[in-house]
Amino acid sequence: MEYFLQQLINGVTLGSIYGLIAIGYTMVYGIIGMINFAHGDVFMVGSFMALIVFLALLALGVTFMPLALLIVLILAMALTSLYGWTVERIAYRPLRGSFRLAPLISAIGMSIFLQNMVQVAQGARVKPLPPVITGGYQFGAAEGFVVNVSNVQIIIVVTTIALMVAFSLIVSKTPLGRAQRACEQDRKMAALLGIDVDRTISLTFVMGAALASVAGLMYLLYYGVIDFYIGFVAGVKAFTAAVLGGIGSLPGAMLGGLLIGLIETFWSAYFTVEYKDVAAFSILAIVLIFLPSGLLGRPEVEKV
């Protein structure tokens, strides 16, 4: 029982990270209907940004942890957003209206570029960060079983929920969110009604990248080790989460992320660690085959 509860907590933590990345996929897919293949690598860039900013702050003598982490969060979001914006500007915007596979191939190129750029710039070795946030709570010691909840896990889950609420409000309440939803439904009509479509799409990428960088920071805090290659597998899993929840749906991405995190954790806990990626990838295939519109998505209507 305690093992199960422990895995549940670990799974929810992992699921929060996947969910945050998945939002980036789902928002971009919703608005321009393309898979942003480089998004996983934007996540990787985000985690590197977090590490660099954190180390820079330490070098500058900021040692009060809550303040340092807050600055890291904000700066990493800003710097990674710049990456997201640039990627869209260079690799996707010129291809709008080009043939079907062009943006996806361009995205693969961008993914390869980002990965190798980071490898050359920062070195191929893994980057360990000693635990920044320590401590935690123990439950159930009196009843005879022990379940640990670390402070990092609490911070991850709470931050994720806060960001989810904030971004849901942006999409549902602000003029920007209205513009995004309009572009999602009909880009040409939105343009005719005076919405700056290019700007809206750019901001969508910026939002996705900002959330991915938060996920990157959390990954760094939770695992304590990053390298230039983490974006690929995390990206595919987050995409799976987005598809599972119903691509285009924000709550769906979060739900999908949670499910993928739980499935992966339980698979590793009860079956084999080696095949945990296989489990996640198989779910992707199974969902696409039997439930293409996902759990919370709208069925896609094909118009000629």
Binding site: M34, V45, F48, M49, L51, I52, L55, A56, A59, L79, L82, Y83, I90, A91, P94, L95, S98, F99, R100, L101, A102, P103, L104, I105, S106, I108, G109, M110, S111, I112, F113, Q115, N116, M117, Q119, V120, A121, Q122, G123, R125, K127, P128, P130, V236, F239, T240, V243, T272, E274, Y275, V278, F281, S282, L284, A285, L288, I289, P292, E302, V304
Partner: protein, 437 residues
């Protein structure tokens, strides 16, 4: 006074270009300063930052100068943005040129190992290039003709390689028996994997094939007792020449033909083997294009909904393309295994799929000649810049993006229709509108 007003208000072309370039440089500074300027290094006492501001300055300077130059030349206001446009006449002439060039290229490939000044290195490189030409042609059936984006093509290459290696290891079967078997097994896997997913739309299909590719690699990596896991399989038997081995023995190839033994014989034989396999792939593809199934592939690529309306069974059509592409990858895989004598999951990573895809895309989807040229340029280029191995992948990714922006249909993008009325005309790829399906 509209004229005077415009004259007064509009800043000079240079000023606009300069301002734009300065903005771009600012963005570049924001991108480069943390990533290139502050390097995380692990030291004895933990992880620390090292400062490298010179790199940042170089990156920003390149962006500024490049943007300024582009603004003043190609992106000059008033200039038509016709970067990727080649007049149809020129394109048609190029296509005709390619028609004569292709036999010449084949002739060149055939005589290359016989030339007196050819070194062993050149033949080895030739084998490598031809392997990728074959893989490119195989994938061209799937991506170029049928328009299905397959990001897991290397999985079938792996199936072919492991089929031969395992059959040889456990049952002692020879290369010539395994070659067709490897192709059949790979095609079989193509059908198994393709059948459930081929109903999906293009970009979903891409991700699912990617997932399958990774699944196969992870299974090969973790199935220790059967595939050797990360250690791979070594000692894979070499191919024989009609039963004659390439060794020093009395019944070896050299002794039978009264030649002095030379390790070069086997290399040359492998070269011709892969050349023949590649040409078979090419020949089959060219013939299939003229059959109803080939036309259905191309119709499917252009507009899936129209195809369905016309009564084409899209699932079967896609499945044949998928299986045939997989089969050729299987052939190439078993060749790879016998050439290397050693295989491990390391050789079948996603990058390989991306590389083969890049060859097809850059060469011009559907163009056999373009794919061959792209394979020669890419693999040759990779070998040429071996010393700069860090930077060549960066360039590779960037080139993929730039080619998509410049010529999304690939370098050779003329389409010669396989069915025509009275006269055959090549059509520029940029003139063809594509349906969405």
């Amino acid at each position: 006074m509209p004229d005077a007003h415009a004259g007064a208000a509009a800043p000079s072309v240079f000023a606009v270009a300069f301002k734009d370039a300065a903005l771009a440089a600012l963005v570049a500074l924001g991108l480069a300063a943390p990533m290139l300027g502050l390097v995380t290094v692990q030291t004895q006492s933990g992880i620390e930052l090292e400062q490298h501001w010179g790199r940042v300055a170089i990156a920003v300077a390149i962006v500024f100068a490049g943007r300024l130059l582009l603004n003043l030349t190609l992106w000059r206001p008033g200039r038509k943005k016709s970067l990727g446009y080649v007049p149809p006449k020129v394109e048609a002439r190029l296509a005709r040129f390619a028609k004569y060039l292709a036999p010449l290229a084949i002739l060149g490939a055939v005589v290359m190992p016989m030339l007196p000044f050819t070194e062993r290195y050149a033949i080895d490189l030739g084998i490598l290039v031809l392997t990728y030409v074959m893989l490119g042609w195989g994938l061209n059936i799937v991506v170029g003709l049928a328009g299905l984006l397959d990001l897991g093509y290397v999985a079938f290459y792996a199936v072919g390689a492991y089929s031969y290696a395992l059959l040889a290891q456990y049952f002692g079967l020879s290369f010539w028996v395994c070659l067709p078997l490897a192709g059949i097994l790979a095609a079989f896997w193509g059908v198994i994997l393709g059948f459930p997913v081929l109903r999906l739309r293009g970009d979903y299909l891409a991700i699912v094939t990617l997932a399958f590719g990774e699944i196969i690699r992870i299974v090969l990596l973790n199935w220790y007792w059967f595939t050797g896991g990360p250690n791979g399989i070594s000692g894979i038997p070499r191919p024989s020449f009609f039963g004659l081995d390439f060794d020093r023995g009395d019944d070896g190839f050299a002794a039978t033909f009264g030649l002095d033994y030379s390790p070069l014989h086997r290399i040359v034989f492998l070269y011709y083997l892969i050349l023949a396999l590649a040409l078979i792939t090419n020949f089959v593809t060219i013939r299939l294009r003229r059959l109803p199934i080939g036309r259905a592939w191309e119709a499917l690529r252009e507009d899936e909904i129209a195809c369905r309306s016309l009564g084409i069974n899209t699932v079967n059509t896609k499945l044949t393309a998928f299986a045939l592409g997989a089969m050729f990858a299987g052939f190439a895989g078993s060749f790879f295994a016998t050439r290397q004598g050693f295989i491990s999951p390391e050789s079948f990573v996603f990058m390989e799929s991306a590389l083969i895809l890049a060859i097809v895309v850059l060469g011009g989807m559907g163009s056999q000649f373009g794919v061959a040229v792209a394979a020669v340029v890419m693999i040759g280029g990779f070998e040429l810049f071996r010393e700069f191995s860090d930077y060549r992948m960066i360039t590779f990714g960037l080139v993929m993006v730039l080619i998509m922006i410049w010529r999304p249909r690939g370098l050779v993008s003329t389409r010669s229709p396989s069915v025509f009325l009275k006269e055959k005309k090549a059509i520029s790829g940029s003139l063809v509108q594509e349906g969405h399906g």
